[in-house]
């Protein structure tokens, strides 16, 4: 009995982790329309491409190599640390931090750069973490 309950709860959290809330769904649909307008052969966002973006390195403002993992770490279920201020950052994975990817304004603010395709891919990657 206990086992079944546990399993149901687990399944519930797993399913739950992959769902955007209503305002975020609307936002993702907007990105999707934008990506389709930019490239008619676009068929949908892809977590694998998103992961590649998350791991890829760019030369930052200070001339040093920087990627999303520099501040958010490679394990999204664990916290990271801001490379500029050394302030700890709580986990980005919605499965362990339920407030993540729930506020469109917050998401837009921290993903101000990049194309609609890149944003959609990276958010699809994060929501599955």
């Amino acid at each position: 009995m206990k086992k079944t309950l546990c399993f149901i709860l687990l399944a519930f959290t797993l399913i739950h982790a992959k769902e955007f809330n209503a305002p975020m769904k609307t936002y993702m649909e907007g990105l999707s329309a934008e990506a389709k307008a930019a490239n008619p052969s676009f068929t949908g966002f892809d977590a694998k491409r998103g992961e590649a973006i998350f791991l890829s390195k760019h030369t930052g403002k200070k001339g040093t190599e920087i990627s999303c993992t520099t501040c958010h770490s490679t394990d999204l279920k664990k916290g990271g640390q801001n490379v500029n201020t050394n302030k700890p950052i709580t986990a980005l994975a919605p499965s362990v931090n339920s407030t993540r990817l729930t506020d469109v304004a917050e998401v837009e603010k921290w993903l101000s750069e990049g194309s609609a395709l890149e944003k959609g891919d990276v958010l699809t990657y994060i929501i599955n973490q």
Partner: protein
């Protein structure tokens, strides 16, 4: 009369001995405490806050720009609660860590303790002052990572 004066003076010196009003403005916390700890308004003078808020697009090597309305509201919160006295004396720069009083208070801490990963720089108040978010910087609440209590 004298007694009241004395009490007031005592109250004032308490206010200086390591404690300031907490940063209790939700908008400020949301916009200015994401990359670092939300520095209390009383830690800088009015002139300093005006400089900080006038240069957000080039904010210590990062971009911390805000919308016009938000920026005005936050500036208003900061200047109405800006500091005066010991901690802000002779400092109109954009940094608390440039205040002569601040420098004097922190001069005994070794570079090794400041440069370590858990701290990084003296701007990271919360790394050592465990109750900094409550505006309390008293010595009793200082715990330096990999060193321990200061007191």
């Amino acid at each position: 009369m004298k007694k009241i004066l004395l009490i007031t003076a005592l109250g004032l010196s308490f206010a200086f001995a390591g404690s300031v009003s907490p940063a209790d403005n939700a908008q400020y916390q949301k916009e200015c405490a994401s990359c670092h700890f939300g520095y209390q308004p009383a830690l800088l003078s009015k002139a300093s806050w005006e400089k900080v808020m006038g240069n957000l697009s080039d904010h210590f090597g990062t971009d911390a720009s805000l919308g016009k309305v938000e920026s005005e509201q936050i500036l208003n919160y900061l200047v109405t609660n800006a500091g005066s006295g010991k901690i802000t004396a002779n400092n109109n720069t954009m940094q608390i860590t440039k205040s002569p009083y601040f420098i004097k208070e922190h001069r005994k801490i070794s570079a090794k303790l400041i440069e370590q990963k858990e701290v990084g720089s003296l701007s990271n108040c919360m790394a050592c002052h465990t109750t900094a978010d409550k505006g309390n910087y008293s010595e009793r609440a200082i715990v330096i990572p990999n060193y321990g209590r200061w007191e």
